[in-house]
């Protein structure tokens, strides 16, 4: 069976259409399984709390305001952690700002 590149390309396209898979379609992987997402949520939350806590600790050491900033930033880290989770679970990932929630610009990038 000798095919020209064009014929081969057409055949591949047909086969892809049969399988309902567009070329270059995003590949679904484990992050979209519940366990993968749960794992990710845990890490996201813990990371933000740690960063908040350490930032506060370091600011306190620098400004001699112990324990004001550590307490303050710990809770802000908590908030940031939930923001991280919210973003990763709604498929916005770490997009800063409210991204897809901003109704003024239609965002069609909601893939994950």
């Amino acid at each position: 069976m000798n095919l020209t590149p064009e014929e081969l390309g057409r055949k591949i396209k047909e086969a892809q259409d049969r399988q309902g898979q567009a070329p270059g379609a995003p590949i679904q992987t484990g992050e979209s399984t519940p366990a993968g997402r749960a794992m990710r949520a845990g890490v996201d939350l813990a990371a933000a709390i740690l960063v908040g806590g350490f930032l506060g600790y370091w600011l306190d050491k620098w400004l001699h305001t112990k324990p004001l900033f550590m307490i303050l930033l710990f809770f802000m880290g908590f908030a940031a952690g939930f923001l991280n989770i919210y973003r990763s679970q709604t498929g916005q990932d770490f997009k800063i700002g409210m991204g897809t929630l901003d109704k003024t610009e239609p965002d069609n990038e909601k893939k994950e």
Partner: protein, 248 residues
């Protein structure tokens, strides 16, 4: 009794090098890292050597890897940026993938199971994306911390939260990879340890085989996780780059 399941993560020097107070020894971790880079390079060069129109098996593998990573990059970044960052993301993907996969070979070492390695990679991504954001947008880059349409009084609260969220990226990126690798390899060793304990009881030869079956299944799972974690690392790198380029 057999060694601890965490024994496998101990760094052992092969060629001890001491420069003043620093220990710059060439360790088994570095050796596997070199092997990963050499293997990637060899695979790429050998694979595309013939440049056949219809790829053979050896050519198919580099092409699949290329298209896979190119798909991730082009999904997130636009033409010029995608072309600019593809080599970086591809190298990163292959380094992490090789680390994860070579670690599954017996007597090998998983360098991605050390947080210093993953943290170095994640911090590099962090500084690169921050630097590129500032390069692209100048001081306007810092508006990334201020969601559009935010009442100014709320900025007092939201901006620190956004900054913490931004700073937590490299941490969660590195911890995710490190934790997955460490947990998987510890689990393999724990089940292997069960085998050793069971051999000691009566019918040990029969019972001792059961954890081996579990380990075979786990090894399959670990291979999948090796791919997924490399994929996640690459896609998050792209998302971080995307967020600093588009800002909002």
């Amino acid at each position: 009794m057999a060694t601890s399941p965490l024994e496998q993560f101990v760094i052992r020097p092969i060629v001890p090098i001491h420069a003043g107070a620093f220990d710059l020894s060439f360790t088994q971790s570095a050796l596997v890292m070199f092997a990963g880079v050499a293997l990637t390079t060899a695979l790429m060069i050998m694979g595309v050597k013939n440049r056949a129109l219809v790829p053979g098996r050896l050519q198919n593998l580099p092409e699949m890897l290329y298209e896979f990573v190119a798909g991730i990059v082009h999904d997130n970044l636009h033409d010029d940026d995608a072309r600019r960052f593809f080599p970086f993301v591809f190298s990163l993907f292959m380094l992490v993938l090789m680390g994860n996969l070579l670690g599954l070979v017996p007597y090998s070492f998983t360098y991605t199971s050390h947080i210093i390695v993953t943290a170095a990679l994640a911090l590099f991504v962090f500084f690169l994306s921050t630097g590129y954001g500032i390069y692209r947008h100048g001081l306007h880059f810092f508006s990334i911390f201020l969601p559009p349409g935010l009442p100014l009084i709320m900025a007092l609260l939201i901006v620190p939260i956004e900054i913490i969220s931004y700073l937590s990226r490299p941490l969660s990126l590195s911890v995710r990879l490190f934790a997955n690798m460490t947990a998987g390899h510890t689990m393999l060793k724990v089940f292997a340890g069960f085998s050793v304990s069971l051999i000691a009881v009566s019918f040990g030869a029969v019972l001792g085989f059961l954890p081996v079956v579990v380990n075979m299944a786990l090894l399959g799972l670990e291979t999948m996780i090796a791919f997924i974690q490399a994929y996640v690392f690459a896609i998050l790198t792209c998302i971080y780059l995307k967020s600093v380029i588009e800002l909002h």
